[in-house]
């Protein structure tokens, strides 16, 4: 079942890809192959594969239980928020919060999670900024004005 849905999804995406490729402008100095052919080929191969997967689906994988799905959802949200907070808030605070939540998900003990958050945020900042010279700001513009 999983593979049939997956195959269908891929088929739709591949068709969309081919349709978008028809919109590519052709320059006036074009070669025999042009800018569209290779995307067409790639889209066509993907479409063929999608049909092959739908025709002969593999047995379903073991899908995660709702609980695991929830954990993955939380991790996803944490990573997304970290990604958008890194610029306005700087490294230290988002990194401490994100590491603490991830650590808590791995081992639900408040003390170790807090230690992981603080330790990783300050420790990694020191290593990445001063030993490796990465361009990280400790606090972002929103906090320092």
């Amino acid at each position: 079942m999983g593979d049939r849905v997956f195959g269908l999804l891929i088929a739709v995406v591949a068709l969309g890809y081919i349709l978008s490729a028809t919109q590519i402008q052709i320059g006036f100095l074009s070669d025999p192959v042009g800018s569209r052919t290779f995307p067409y080929i790639v889209g066509g191969v993907a479409l063929l594969c999608a049909f092959a997967i739908m025709a002969r689906p593999d047995p379903d994988p073991e899908w995660p239980a709702w609980r695991s799905l929830g954990r993955i959802g939380i991790a996803l949200a944490v990573l997304y928020l970290f990604a958008i907070a890194l610029r306005p808030l700087g490294f230290l605070i988002p990194a401490a919060l994100a590491s603490a939540i991830l650590a808590y998900q791995v081992r639900p003990v408040v003390r170790t999670a807090a230690a992981a958050g603080l330790g990783l945020s300050f420790g990694l900042f020191a290593i990445l900024k001063y030993a490796l010279g990465l361009g990280l700001a400790p606090f972002g513009r929103m906090l320092t004005g």
Binding site: G2, G27, V45, G117, L128
Partner: protein, 501 residues
């Protein structure tokens, strides 16, 4: 004699204090990366590439650092295979078969030392093989025109895809996904944007480091979150470490045989270290008179896969340096490093930048001796590092990957794209769609298209030109064979360690 002159030039580059320090540091980090379960060599190298850039290293230095990490990871993978029965990385899977039983018999120290020596033999001889073979292959590469390169890329996708999944359609799909992503951005030949959907950030295309770190490292976070608690590792106490001279002597032929097999598997584009260790183990088992003792702690079953996978790791550098086609997943990541450093692999690299090529090879020779010291007398240190708790490790790796990618562009867009690749990688892993062909597609897509278009310009649109030379016909034939053969060999190749892993 030409070789010795080149090598002397290489050592002049490699023996500077900075390069030496980078080689030693790379070996150390690499062994840790290899030893930690779940953080394989491709992952480790991908996460570290952005950090290597921020150090402001020149091309040779960056390459020495990352290949030392690569070699180190290959050595380190065996440590958790033997002690925890969890392969530290995929090629170390075969080492669990006899390594863990040896450890259970109280011979963990012997197994670690023996496999360390086997790794050294495999890696050292493969490095010598690389020095001999790469310049020859580079000369052959001069005969390659656009149609031959196009056929070579096909070969890489077919052999890699043929082995990566149990379903050929899924491997081919993975390659198509990668190639499709590579098309995004400005067309190399006309400068017209393609498939960017008006998004400014996509004009330059999708940065392959973003894709690699997403597909490997971020996907790993989601997989961990799902499997959490299910993988309980039964640790084995590490007793006194002695050197099992008798075993080493008895396994010396095994190591040499395995090195030969592994090197050959590595040189084949796309096949890589996992195949090397698998073939080496299988060959050793089928040649042995005491077949039943394999899987129950036979020292030869430890020496063969370790020599095989380290030899394959060296062999995989041959096609990457001479043809620009990586021989394995991790060399694909190393190719990403080369391309980002503006170094085009191929025959011209050997002519124009000999200091890079030979400096790298000399550094690899040195790295092998460093690794032998780290992995035999100092192995206890790495066993300690294995006990870093996951609640510290998982967020730590995540933070390092995010900071590395963020420092490349300073944009949240890349980070969000990376998370999207992580989700994609997670879903594809669940569906048994291999992710390495995607990486290869993103890396090689533009070159592949260019070679096709150039071939068509030369032949004025005649498609039969693609099959007009002996070399290209041979490559096409090998590609077809590489794609189809696994369908028949499936029963043989199916999950080699499934029963005991």
């Amino acid at each position: 004699m030409e070789l010795l002159a080149h090598l002397a030039q290489g050592f002049a580059v490699a023996l500077t204090p900075t390069t030496l320090l980078l080689a030693v540091g790379g070996c150390f980090i690499g062994t840790i990366v290899g030893a930690l379960p779940g953080l394989g060599p491709s992952n480790g190298v991908a996460i570290l590439i952005p950090l290597a850039f921020s150090l402001g290293l020149d091309a040779t230095e960056a390459l020495v650092l990352m290949t030392s990490v690569y070699y180190g990871a290959m050595y380190g993978g065996r440590i958790s295979s033997i002690l925890l029965n969890i392969p530290g990385d995929e090629p170390a899977l075969m080492t669990t078969l006899d390594g863990y039983p040896m450890a259970r018999q109280g011979r963990a120290g012997d197994a670690l030392v023996l496999s360390g020596v086997a790794s050294f033999v495999g890696a050292l001889l493969a490095t010598v093989g690389l020095m001999l073979l790469a310049p020859l292959l580079a000369r052959v590469a001069y005969l390659f025109g656009p149609p031959e390169y196009f056929a070579l890329y096909m070969l890489a996708f077919c052999t890699l895809g043929g082995l990566a999944s149990r379903n050929q359609a899924k491997s081919a799909l993975a390659a198509a996904i990668g190639l499709g992503i590579a098309m995004i951005g400005l067309d190399n030949q006309t400068g017209i944007p393609r498939l960017t959907f008006g998004e400014m950030h996509l004009m330059d295309g999708v940065d392959f480091l973003v894709a690699i770190v997403g597909l490997f490292a971020v996907a790993e976070v989601f997989i961990y979150m799902e499997n959490h608690g299910r993988e309980t590792a039964l640790g084995v106490a590490l007793g006194r470490i002695t050197v099992p001279v008798k075993d080493i002597v008895r396994c010396s032929w095994t190591m040499l045989r395995a090195t030969g097999i592994g090197f050959f598997a590595g040189v084949l584009p796309g096949a890589g270290a996992s195949l090397g260790s698998f073939l080496a183990y299988m060959a050793e088992k089928s040649a042995a008179r005491d077949k039943e003792s394999f899987g129950k702690g036979n020292p030869r079953g430890v020496a063969a896969p370790e020599a095989g996978n380290n030899a394959a790791a060296g062999g995989a550098l041959v096609p990457m340096l001479t043809l620009g086609v990586p021989g394995s997943g991790t060399t694909a990541v190393l190719l990403a490093l080369l391309l980002t450093l503006n170094i085009t692999p191929g025959p011209l690299l050997f002519e124009e930048r000999p200091e890079v090529v030979w400096g790298l090879m000399a550094a690899l020779l040195i790295a092998n001796f460093v690794l032998l010291v780290m992995n035999v007398p100092m192995v206890r240190l790495f066993v300690k590092i294995l006990s870093v708790p996951p609640w510290l490790l998982l967020p730590g790796i995540t933070m390092v990957s995010f900071s590395g990618i963020y420092s490349l562009s300073g944009s949240s867009f890349d980070l969000i794209l990376m998370i999207a690749f992580g989700l994609l990688g997670y879903a594809l892993r669940k569906l048994d769609v291999p992710t390495v062909p995607i990486i290869l597609g993103i890396l090689l897509g533009n070159n592949m298209e260019d070679s096709l278009r150039r071939a068509m310009v030369i032949s004025d649109g005649d498609w039969t030109y693609l099959f007009s030379s002996g070399i290209s016909i041979g490559l096409w034939a090998a590609a077809v064979a590489g794609f189809i053969a696994p369908m028949f060999l499936r029963n043989l190749l199916k999950r080699p360690g499934a029963g005991s892993g």
